[in-house]
């Protein structure tokens, strides 16, 4: 059984940082699942099974939250009392929004023209932007501990991540 009061980082024995070793997380995740997974308790009592189910689901949730950069940054802010995705405040810089809106229009045009290469180029540009924001976030969160200043970049990263998924789906539809 795991300690449900621990935060995601503590659960895996990892430092509370944005930049971190994904392989170490993978390793710790597999080890922990090996201990708590319901398959280990299939022949056990109902209570053992229920605990295994809850522990394993908790470990999966923690792993997901740390594996993804957007969720990880969001979680780090949350640990410092900042809710990045509050429904009452969804502001983003206007120039950022305008640039992404343009990209969406370009992407729609590429799909209409069935131009898979043009679509891929937009995806690449989005990914490059995201990588830049991640570098910035690592500096702000891990070095400067400037959590308030990280709020806007986290929102931008989340927005780009959604855009990336949509572009991937469009690319998939083009390929099919």
């Amino acid at each position: 059984m795991i300690d449900f009061s621990r935060n995601h980082f503590e659960l895996f024995g990892l430092p509370e940082r944005f930049r971190f070793d994904a392989e170490r997380l993978d390793e710790a995740y597999r080890k922990l699942q090996g201990d708590v997974h319901p398959d280990r308790f299939a022949a056990g009592s109902d209570q053992e099974k229920r605990i295994a189910l809850q522990s394993s689901a908790r470990v999966n949730e923690a792993y997901r939250a740390l594996r993804d950069p957007v969720l990880r940054a969001q979680y780090l802010l949350e640990l410092h009392g900042i809710e990045a995705m509050a429904e009452t405040d969804t502001r983003l810089p206007l120039d950022f929004l305008e640039r992404q809106l343009e990209r969406r229009e370009e992407a729609d045009a590429a799909v209409d023209a069935r131009d898979s290469r043009a679509l891929a180029a937009i995806s690449d540009a989005v990914r490059a932007d995201a990588a830049e924001i991640e570098t910035m976030l690592a500096q702000a969160l891990d070095e400067e501990h400037a959590y308030d200043a990280a709020l806007m970049p986290v929102r931008e990263l989340k927005f780009l991540s959604k855009l990336e998924d949509d572009l991937d789906a469009m690319q998939g539809d083009l390929d099919d």
Partner: protein, 620 residues
């Protein structure tokens, strides 16, 4: 059982301390049962040595036939001989785009479609349970006792309703089910453990009626499913059907009778199988009106009439790779599963797509059952060498709720690792609203109407507040079988409304109870046989233990005590041969009673033996 308390440390007191664990591949066309023997997974064949059971059930005038016996009558009694029932699991009549293909008397109703037979109206769950029961009996005969635990496989792309229906069928068949396991994952376990495989693998599983693609990462004993996709209504059956349509068209025949249709589909399947090793296959049949059909199907024609079907399998492959964030070249090996992957055009298409020939060093018919047996053995708690491995599987389709405007809000996205729990908060949209309708759906589409409806329920007793003020938390829990449970709770007052999703398309608990009762009355012998088998195993164990104890420690008994035990022993032995499990249980109890004092004395002696020759300080 007092006698069992005496055994040397490290020695198993019972000869069959291993649990009887089996893996079952419940297929569209064929089913299999496998178990672990001496560290190896083996398929259990029937008396004639045949490993496969055709997944065919025939309701006869006096009982039910399963397998080859039923298969022999599929053309002359098509309406009572049910084939490919897996395609109907968890499905309503409206879901079956190909309903006209089946010659059955469908009975529509709320939830799952049912079939009218001479034995009454049967649900796909009951029909599948007949197949599972036949496999259970085969395993019990082969393993000489009742089954302790079973893993039953399902297509990875099965939705919640189809999974629940399969689990219900296992319950109905009297199988203690340990886990539902995804078929491609089972195959990956069998392949991966055998070959000590490491890296990214794709499992391409084209069965009789379902198609799955799973992308797995194998790394130091962890089998991690990264993504899965598929089509739960695409399989070898569809290739048969293409040949069938081609034959009707080529010969210029009108729509055939149910019996003729079944005959032609059988011939189509034979032609398909022949084309795996030949360039041409004959297709000959005499129809009920005397019409003679004599056609020849070439490999080229077959390939061209099934091209779209082959293409239909590649779309899910692309989507699964995309979800896993991988390219075809990242895949180290492609494992083929399912009899339909023997078709050369499938192998060619897979080789072209992945840029490498698929792995064919395993039997595509057996690998799923073998993997399931390995998993069952582990889950049942039997220890093996190298059993320190772990399976991490995913849900195939997103789970969500209906929101305003008939749109879907996804709560758990597809390819989430299970078990998984996720919650989301919703609010009321009207002032003073006191109830909220919750509609649970599964699927990828935006509109609720395009997704599968799993359940509807209502949360009542919400305190009347201004619109948007109430906070309702809806929690989705998916267990290790991939089955969903949903709970809703109003946060301020804690009004709880909980539902385990299995209604509209599955069967309700009371329906299962009714079917179980029916199966007791119709097949009461079956339960009796199980009870008898269990009692017999216990009896044999206690007889063996008593005899070996008497051989060692007979001098602990007086002559009259010995006579008493001998009489009780004889009583058990005489009841083993008889068919009355209650009498046998009574005899076992009498023997236990007679040996109680003997066991206590033996215990004292073994404790003394253990203590003698040791210094006191070594004991503290």
């Amino acid at each position: 059982m007092a006698l069992f308390q005496i055994s040397e440390p490290g020695e198993a007191p019972i000869p069959h301390a291993r649990r009887r664990a089996i893996g079952i591949d419940l297929g569209t066309t064929n089913s299999l049962v496998a178990t672990m023997r001496s560290g190896l997974a083996v398929v259990l064949p029937d008396e004639d040595g045949r490993p496969l059971v055709p997944s065919i059930v025939r309701y006869c005038d006096n009982g039910v036939d399963v397998g080859f016996a039923a298969m022999a009558h599929q053309a002359d009694d098509p309406q009572n001989t049910i084939v490919s029932v897996k395609r109907l699991m968890g499905r309503g009549l409206a879901d079956l785009s190909d309903a006209r293909r089946f010659p059955y008397r469908f009975v529509d109703g709320p939830g799952m479609v049912r079939i009218g037979t001479r034995a009454g109206v049967k649900s796909p769950v009951e029909i599948s349970a007949e197949i599972l029961r036949a496999l259970r009996m085969r395993a019990e005969a082969s393993l000489d006792g009742p089954i302790d635990g079973a893993v039953v496989t399902v297509p990875a792309y099965f939705d919640d309703a189809q999974r629940q229906a399969t689990k219900d069928a296992a319950t109905l068949a009297g199988l203690p089910i340990l886990r539902l396991l995804n078929e491609p994952t089972a195959a990956a376990v069998a392949y991966g453990l055998d070959n000590a495989a490491e890296g990214i693998y794709a499992v391409y599983d084209l069965g009789g009626g379902t198609f799955d693609i799973s992308i797995l990462k194998l790394s130091r004993g962890v089998f991690e499913v990264l993504a899965t996709n598929g089509d739960s209504a695409l399989g070898g059956d569809d290739f048969d059907h293409r040949i069938f349509c081609w034959a009707l068209e080529t010969a210029g025949l009108p729509p055939p009778t149910p019996a003729d249709a079944r005959l032609l589909l059988m011939r189509a399947r034979e032609a398909k199988e022949m084309l795996t090793g030949h360039d041409e296959a004959p297709l000959r049949a005499t129809l009920s009106d005397g019409t003679k059909l004599d056609l020849a199907l070439t490999k080229e024609t077959f390939t061209s009439i099934t091209q779209t079907l082959v293409g239909k399998t590649l779309q899910p492959v692309k989507r699964a790779l995309r979800d896993a964030g991988l390219a075809p070249t990242d895949v180290k090996g492609v494992v083929l599963v399912g009899g339909a992957t023997r078709m050369p055009q499938i192998r060619r298409a897979v080789a072209t797509f992945f840029g490498q020939p698929p792995l064919t060093n395993l039997n595509p018919d057996e690998v799923v059952a073998l993997g399931a047996a390995v998993q069952a053995n582990k889950l049942a708690g039997n220890r093996e060498k190298n059993d320190d491995w772990l399976l991490l599987d995913v849900i195939p389709l997103s789970l969500g709720l209906e929101t305003m405007g008939g749109l879907t809000e996804k709560i758990i996205p597809r390819n989430s690792t299970i078990p998984v729990t996720r919650a989301q908060e919703f609010t009321t949209f009207k002032d003073g609203q006191t109830a909220m309708a919750i509609h649970v759906v599964q699927g990828e589409r935006e509109k609720v109407a395009d997704c599968r409806s799993l359940a509807r329920f209502e949360l009542r007793g919400i305190p009347p507040l201004a619109a948007g003020a109430a906070r309702i938390r809806v929690t989705f829990d998916v267990d290790a079988d991939g089955l969903l449970a949903v709970a809703a709770r109003e946060q301020t007052t804690g009004v709880e409304s909980t539902i385990t999703v299995k209604p509209s398309y599955g069967l309700s608990d009371s329906e299962i109870a009714r079917m179980l009762r029916d199966s007791f009355t119709h097949a009461g012998d079956d339960m009796m046989a199980r009870a008898q088998a269990e009692a017999r195993v216990d009896a044999e164990q206690i007889v063996a233990a008593t005899q070996s104890a008497l051989a060692v420690d007979a001098e602990l008994l007086t002559a009259s005590e010995r006579a008493h035990i001998d009489a009780a022993l004889a009583g058990v032995k005489s009841q083993i041969a008889g068919g009355d499990h209650r009498a046998l249980r009574a005899a076992i109890a009498a023997l236990n009673d007679a040996t109680g004092e003997f066991a206590a004395r033996r215990m004292d002696r073994s404790v003394q033996a253990a203590l003698s020759g040791k210094r006191i300080d070594a004991l503290s």
